[in-house]
């Protein structure tokens, strides 16, 4: 099925936004101005965007420590995200959470997560809500190859199958959990794991937006139609360290350079839409310029935004004491 022009433009914009946002954070982090841990999603943009292009605000996603891309793809405000990462009161979480905890429930974004494997059980719950409330929603857990080895993840695959939940489990396989390769840490393979839990398995090249989009559409349609959960295995490369400050001695010298050269989702998107005359390339250039402005103003605004105040410390521990 042809992807609409509107979806293509929106998706390109989202992928470009993620790229520029993350590369800017990489530079800003080096100045020492950004506190805490920052895990960049560069190189993996097409996964979040290709999946979320098939979702609406009604649908729920759960993300990971590497969550900026999922947030942007699900429509979380870029200025609010940047302010959050800088710890400002205008941040989407009022400066309480930071990079690893960006969430916006109004967008169906159940949160980045500091706990590996934290998301899949939550997504079983979100899927249960969709099912019981009959709102036609689907719940999608993004998690890494590393997280695929958490008990919470494996139990969730089972639970989702037992309860026939409208859930999609997206394994974002970038080949590493921190400094350890998936080839060491993951026994067997994801396909057999899905089979073991009785759910369909689909896979795609995560640097190809079109492949992710179409495979995710099938997975999401399956879950939405009440046929139960699906595993979607997305093959990816991460372009930066595990977190900012990681020298990546565990990766071959050419690995990242090769990924940037041969597996750039933005480049392949451009080539494809040009070859198939799907979009006017000027429109893409305009998006590039507009995204650059948006991220620049997000950074400037974040740096100038007020800090949280003393009263904020005690606020929101409970709904009501």
């Amino acid at each position: 099925m042809q992807i609409s022009t509107e979806t293509l433009l929106q998706s390109y914009r989202a992928m470009r936004t993620i790229r520029v946002f993350e590369e800017r954070l990489h530079r800003e982090f080096a100045t020492g101005e950004i506190p805490g841990f920052v895990h960049l999603y560069c190189g993996e943009e097409a996964s979040a965007v290709g999946v979320c292009a098939n979702l609406t605000d009604q649908d729920t996603i759960a993300s990971t420590h590497r969550g900026h891309g999922h947030c942007i793809a699900k429509g979380v405000d870029v200025g609010g995200m940047m302010a959050e990462i800088y710890g400002r009161k205008s941040g989407v979480c009022r400066g309480k959470g930071g990079s690893m905890h960006i969430a916006d429930l109004s967008k169906g974004m159940l949160g980045a997560n500091g706990i590996v494997g934290g998301g899949p059980p939550l997504i079983c719950g979100a899927a249960l809500s969709h099912k019981v409330l009959k709102d036609n929603g689907v719940a999608v857990a993004f998690f890494g190859d590393g997280a695929s080895n958490e008990g919470t993840t494996l139990e969730s695959l089972n639970l989702a199958s037992v309860w026939q939940l409208p859930a999609v489990f997206v394994v974002e396989d970038n080949g590493y959990g921190e400094a350890t390769g998936a080839s060491y840490a993951c026994a067997g393979n994801q396909k057999d794991r899905a089979a073991g839990f009785g759910m369909p398995y689909m896979e795609c090249d995560g640097s190809d937006f079109f492949a992710v989009h179409d495979t995710a559409r099938d997975a999401i349609d399956h879950a939405r139609s009440g046929k139960g959960p699906v595993m979607l295995h997305v093959h990816l490369q991460r372009w930066y360290g595990h977190f900012e400050g990681d020298a990546m001695s565990y990766r071959a010298a050419n690995e990242v350079a090769d990924a940037k050269k041969n597996h750039d989702c933005l480049e392949s998107f451009r080539t494809r839409v040009e070859q198939e005359k799907l979009l006017d390339l000027n429109a893409l250039d305009e998006i590039d310029a507009s995204v650059a402005d948006e991220v620049e103003s997000a950074v400037q605004a974040a740096k100038q935004a007020p800090w949280p105040e003393e009263a904020d410390l005690m606020a929101d521990v409970y709904v009501k004491i």
């Binding site: 979480c93 905890h101 500091g114 706990i115 565990y250 410390l313 005690m314």
Partner: protein
Amino acid sequence: MSKKSFRQAINEALRQEMRRDPTVVLMGEDVAGGQGGSSGVKDAWGGVLGVTKGLQTEFGESRVLDTPISEASYIGAAAGAAATGLRPVAELMFVDFVGCCLDQIMNQAAKFRYMFGGKARTPLVIRAMYGAGFNAAAQHSQALYPLFTHIPGLKVVVPSSPYEAKGLLIEAIRDDDPVIFLENKVMYDDEEEVPDEAYTIPFGEANLTREGNDVTIVAIGRMVGMANEAADRLAKQGISCTVLDPRTTSPLDEQTILECVEDTGRLVIVDESSPRCNMACDISALVAEQAFGALKAPIRRVVPPHTPVPFSTPLEKLYMPSAEKIEAAVKSIMMQKTPEVA
């Protein structure tokens, strides 16, 4: 003897014990790192903050094991191995991740000996980072030692300096019970003189880091340094403090705490864990029960508020105890009149 960082002190303790005892094994996520990586570089990280660097290179992959991200299984494996002949030191990275494997600690390792009628030994050490002050936010900043202290069967160590860390870790490895060994992540680069040879510091013996007449400050882990800083300032203002480091919250050296309070008549407890049911509560109860007559003023607790740890720098500063807050707490009870005990 030479200057060593907190990180080096821990590394040296592990190295010396592994050389001495072939049953000591290490496991955890990226305790070496690099397995399955495309560069083929082994021991690529040596722990997420480099604390175990070089150990796999020296002792090999059969004794320094990188684990999948599967805390429940490898912490449980460490407990099972401990009960069957090994002396595992398992690294949980951030203590917050105990949420993923608490059963294996709380219901398994901690209870074997008692449940099995004294027939088991579980010489297990679990190392983990704790503490706020790193902008690491709510899921990477907790100080969960009260949680472990609450569980009978566990010993809980919270070292306050590089010297303390080395001696207490060697003691932990040689101890036959499960020990939770908590390292404050903000302290890894702190340095002091640390002996080159192996030595042990016994559990349950508090360390008097400073003796004074007016107030006893009991402080835990990183708070010991802050308490001494506050005591320095207070000394200039004519207030003399005892600063006591319990070293282990389980067992707790109740005797020394009570003796110090008997001497000074005033008590301030500094604890960076959440304020409900924490060590400050526990020690307050001890003193209220057993040294009530010696108290010249109310006990003061310098603790964070009952909130998750906030991310933003100014909020995290407000959250944390500090030398200033300790100083203010001490002054507040020095100014207080002696209550008349009927």
